[in-house]
Symmetry: C2
Subunit: 141 residues, 2 copies
């Protein structure tokens, strides 16, 4: 039978752990979690997003998102407003404080990201990115 270590999900997990080891110390220094940073990063790029879009882009399920957004709101990094057309939807955006954090952290994150990509070569990185994208499209029937 196929060996345990050959499991694709496990390989993906280990690869991600290695990649995250580049950023964890930095994020911890600023007291934001990995997931919180994904949210902040997405909001920085898309200005204002609904919860559902945020969940989709950040790969976070809505029940988790509820808690994360509550905490981010409490420390003052984001703000919400109810959509005027649809009372169910809430639109999330960065607060001034949140934007400041992103502006401060982003360059440092980018620097470490470069260390990471340089360690692997540009070509392999693109190759990997392509394969990962292809895999992401797959769904069990």
């Amino acid at each position: 039978m196929r060996k345990f270590d050959d499991s694709l999900p496990l390989q993906l997990l280990k690869a991600r752990e290695a990649a995250m080891s580049f950023f964890r110390p930095l994020l911890q220094e600023y007291a934001v979690t990995e997931q919180q940073w994904r949210i902040l990063r997405a909001l920085d790029e898309y200005q204002e997003l609904e919860s559902k879009q945020l969940a989709e882009r950040c790969c976070i399920l809505s029940p988790s998102l509820t808690g994360i957004l509550n905490r981010l709101e409490q420390v003052g990094y984001i703000q919400r407003r109810k959509s005027s057309e649809d009372q169910r939807r809430s639109c999330i955006s960065l607060s001034e404080q949140g934007r400041q954090l992103v502006d401060t952290l982003s360059p440092q994150v980018e620097q470490r990201y470069k260390q990471l990509t340089d360690s692997l070569s540009q070509q392999k990185l693109e190759q990997l990115s392509t394969l990962l994208h292809e895999l992401s499209q797959l769904r069990s029937l």
Copy 2:
């Protein structure tokens, strides 16, 4: 700046989600979690392992492992014994019931794994595996 969706950790996360979508329904049907299955799978392959080795191979931190092993022991899938030479270490192994579960589930998991790999082509899979392994070796200085 680099786009949000280009983030390697996020790509790895999404790829893993896609891959796991092939197995989640099956695992849920047998009421075992993803992590519990990793443990059982590892124990099936290595007979008996110490907690630390298990944590290493399954990519699970010790505090999480403590809880997972407690639950697996309670439902009767594993058993522990203290190492005779070193009273700190505990050796974990599959119980008869645990072995039965693995024997029942493994073929079905393999079947879905084949669906997954067939969807991607053998060549790309090997290519991906190689790149992931290389990435896994990297560590932030």
